[in-house]
Symmetry: C2
Subunit: 253 residues, 2 copies
């Protein structure tokens, strides 16, 4: 087989799909849009769209993220967090039958965002919402008789599942959990992020010792807050460290 033969290559459509995760009311939620057209009309799907002819993959993902959420994405290599989300490539899905109409290869990206106001619907999707990932992935199961109980369109359940697993494992050994927090946050708020993403309860005392004892993870801003009730808590910003060594240990599993 002759590689890169410009005269005879099978044409593909290339899209980006986004797994946008946030933590709302102690639950890990993903952004879902309702499809307005066939196939899978009326079903929920991940936001996404075609890559433009002269657009890089990461640029396409960032553009879709802005269109859907208004979030400004940061480069994967500069994990600063201003009013933006963390964005990284997740994986690529190219089963020949994943789209019944034509051959579509989708480069999925993962975005982590702090809790936001209502999502803004893109021009093409007639509605968008944050939904708990458990509900989105519970296929036909436990959900109320809600449109949420229907499976996601295309192979988006698989993509979402892979994105959630990436997020779950990545907060173990990186400081990425701070991407779910506002610019200033307390140790307790960060702990609730871990608890929501992992679905477990963590010991507040050991967690406090761990995160405050890891150099470069958190830097105190000097302020305090009582927005969570109880005794006032110190406010922190994310420090420069991106890798946690030793990592945060996820209980049992």
């Amino acid at each position: 087989m002759s590689p890169y033969d410009p005269s005879a290559f099978p044409p593909f459509a290339v899209t980006v799909d986004l797994v946008v995760l946030t933590v709302r009311r102690h639950a890990l939620c993903a952004l879902a849009v309702r499809r307005g057209e066939s196939p899978f009309q009326g079903r929920w799907a991940l936001p996404g769209g075609f890559v433009r002819p002269d657009e890089d993959l990461s640029a396409a993902a960032a553009r879709e993220l802005v269109e859907e959420t208004g979030l400004c994405a940061h480069d994967p290599d500069s994990p600063v967090q201003a009013n933006g989300a963390h964005l990284e490539q997740l994986a690529t899905y190219g089963d020949p039958k994943r789209d019944p109409r034509m051959r579509v290869v989708s480069v999925a990206h993962l975005a982590l965002a702090p809790d936001l106001p209502a999502p803004r619907a893109g021009g093409d999707a007639n509605s968008a919402r944050w939904a708990p990932v458990d509900a989105l992935l519970a296929q036909g199961g436990y959900g109320r008789e809600d449109e949420q109980a229907t499976p996601l369109a295309f192979d988006h359940a698989q993509i979402l599942s892979d994105g959630v697993e990436r997020a779950r494992s990545k907060i173990e050994y990186s400081s990425l959990a701070t991407a779910f927090c506002p610019p200033e946050f307390t140790v307790g708020e960060l702990r609730r992020v871990y608890e929501a993403v992992w679905g477990v309860a963590l010991d507040p005392r050991n967690f406090h010792r761990k995160v405050t004892g890891t150099p470069g993870f958190l830097v105190p801003t000097g302020g305090t807050t009582t927005r969570q009730g109880g005794r006032p808590a110190q406010l922190f910003r994310a420090g420069g460290a991106t890798l946690l060594n030793p990592p945060m240990l996820r209980p049992d599993v």
Copy 2:
């Protein structure tokens, strides 16, 4: 922008490129093929080729792997090791200018193989060889006046670098290092794999304690060998465990 509009999508070429790694003579090596045609004619590149119209991405990668090495690839989810290599998706590269002729999106895959006899050249590549990754990535640097000192074609240096980094980090927390070993191997041989991939020296006694003390990592076959010289060493096969918990710690960095 209307997603999945079959009447108006920009056509892309989709390829798979392979980072095939092995350990030869205590060095981490990658499979490189010499390009027989323009662009980058005569330069070294990663093996790869077009995805066929009705072929899944992983199937295309497995096919290319067989064509280049004769290795039978295993499914990423069934990490058994018979006469086959570990194969997993690495990342996707889609810079609009990465191929000067047309828009090509390449889904790179990472393969880990035991030390093999000479690679077999595919029909399209006039030569193929194992080369130390250090030499392939040393752009214009230290190499002898060898064709190896020229940078790899396209963005393949970046792809190879990402693949090597993935391998380096993945053997920390998984049993994947056994994919570099023959079906039966000794603790010392496994240690030399880690040393070659990480480029460090490990304490033989602590390494032995770690790998033999991790349940499911190694299972003794009962046999022994002296092929490394010295006192006879027990032979092991890879156990069922795929995740190492706690992980193997990489010194310093």
